[in-house]
Amino acid sequence: AEPLVLWGPPAAPSIVLAQAVASGALKEVAPDVTFKVWKTPDEMRAGISAGTFRAVVVPTYVASNLYNRGLGVRLLNVLTDGLLFVVAPSGTVKDIAGLRGRKVAVPFRNDMPDFIFRRMLASAGLAASDIDVDYSGTPAEAVQLLLTGRADAAFLTEPLASAAILRAATAGRTLERAIDAQEVWRKITGRQAIPQAGLAITDKLAADIGGGGIAALQTALEGALGSVLKDPATAAAVAAPALELPAPVIERAIPFSSLVVRRASAARADLAALFDALAEADPRIIGGKQPDDGFFAL
């Protein structure tokens, strides 16, 4: 069999992949398995089109979008139940309603976090005009604005939130995860999780490694999850070089990242709820419709 590269963004779900690769548990799937980071959607698009990306961690709605476009991509599992937080200086913000009149940096306009954020606002009875949403810039700029007090809060993903909090500490300021989006989500929708990201595989890989290989992959990841949650410090040290993030940041992020390794079919209801919510804002984000059965690789 060919060597296999697992691709993931420099975000929390990739920790599990890095751990799985390092532990050697993927020997059964392919003789030579490595982990690499993708950073831009263009890279991912190019990789999937060119066939070099065969197993890649992507946001679940992206997997649905690609699947619905007929690109031969299916979701294997869900790797996180949500890692979105509103970060604000300690004690300033308690809940969504507390954001009223404040300036919040949301660096993902018209993307999933933005839709979830708007949904949260709506559920708290806040109109768009009640708070000052600053969409400008990338997460890096959002944190810079937050740390210098030019924004009152920022809507961030892990491990960015942890990094920001750690960075603020060295500057003598205290930030906290003021609002856990997962909790709010639970209240609004009644669903337990925001199945944000998962491992997607191409049909070509599925054909190459077969059903047994897929199962072995899932098992290896489940095992890796166990060791990550048991010993975050070691896992962080393992993942740090590949993610190009300092180990302490990763270690701090692990407990807040709701890491899971759930089969896609097992998370189907949560996924459907999330996709519905997104499609309400813009159906095109999931590729126009709920993905059908073929979407769930396992």
């Binding site: 698009r45 810039g137 095109r284």
Partner: protein
């Protein structure tokens, strides 16, 4: 300059004599404009040939890579026409247009001004050139936060990006043009007691224009692109914002349609605005060429 038009038979001449002078002049100007426009558009055919070559390459790329990487030209154009029906296009386009126009005017204006000053004065040149190199060499991420702080999520940061990216081009052109002015002609103008501004206008400027036009055309073409990229990266609306959304949706034909629009704007700026201006001011250059100046 007199216009000799092919429609000007002796009869017409007689009929004209009966018209009042302003009407005659107006008619004459009309004919001149029509003739000029005809010639301009005619010359455009060759340019279109070049563009269609590009389109053919695009189609070939599409056939090889498929719609997810490179949508077909026809598909893209269809999507683009679809856009014309919605309200986003007008809004996004006008937002981007104002930003790139503002950026272009500021960049071209400041660059030309500073470059001309530096071209006249060696001391100014020595001080300014390294500064301009630094401005040119600093990647936008260095000051994008500052721009966001100063201008918020309005268009200011996009305009600033355009200015900083394009200003050095006009500066370098104007500097070189002013430095290579013909000093013999300058002395001639001085002998008639022409003041520095007059000399600049009548002696240096016409020479300078040949340095400014390449700088301006690159600046103008660039301005659209840079504005869109800045909007995209700083999430500040306009066509760049639309592009970002389309990208988040992986709607590649839509992405390509927006890009096609940007390119169309760049072409319009160059061939609708800058090129006619150049043709007007640089007509004298075709004097002495075998086909001469069309009078």
């Amino acid at each position: 300059m007199t216009v000799s038009s092919p429609f000007e038979g002796p009869r017409v001449g007689e009929a004209r004599r009966a018209m009042p002078a302003w009407l005659r002049a107006g008619a004459r100007a009309c004919v001149a404009a029509t003739v000029w426009l005809g010639r301009y558009v005619w010359a455009g055919w060759v340019g279109l040939a070049g563009l269609f070559c590009l389109a053919a390459g695009w189609q070939a790329g599409h056939e090889f890579y498929g719609s997810f990487i490179l949508p077909a030209p026809l598909e893209t154009v269809t999507v683009l026409f679809g856009l014309f029906e919605g309200p986003e296009l007008a809004q996004a386009a006008s937002e981007t247009a104002w930003r790139s126009l503002g950026g272009f005017l500021l960049a071209a204006g400041l660059g030309t001004l500073a470059g001309s000053v530096a071209g006249y004065s060696f001391a100014a040149m020595r001080i300014m050139r390294p500064i301009v190199t630094v401005i040119l060499g600093v990647p936008p991420i260095a000051w994008i936060v500052l721009a966001l702080i100063w201008f918020g999520s309005g268009g200011g940061s996009a305009v600033l990006t355009v200015v900083l990216a394009s200003f050095p081009i006009s500066f370098a052109g104007a500097l070189e043009g002013a430095a290579t002015r013909d000093r013999a002609l300058d002395a001639m103008a001085r002998s008639f007691g022409a003041s520095l501004p007059t000399r600049f206008r009548t002696v240096t400027l016409p020479h300078l224009l040949s340095y400014l036009f390449p700088a301006w055309t690159t600046t103008a073409g660039n301005a659209w692109k840079v504005t869109v990229m800045a909007e995209l990266l700083s999430n500040t609306g306009g066509i760049g914002g639309q592009l970002a959304t389309a990208r988040a949706l992986f709607d590649i034909p839509l992405v390509t349609a927006w890009i096609l629009l940007v390119v169309a704007f760049a072409l319009i700026t160059e061939y609708g605005m800058l090129n006619p201006l150049r043709e007007m001011t640089e007509r004298w250059r075709s004097a002495g060429l075998p086909w001469g100046v069309k009078r």
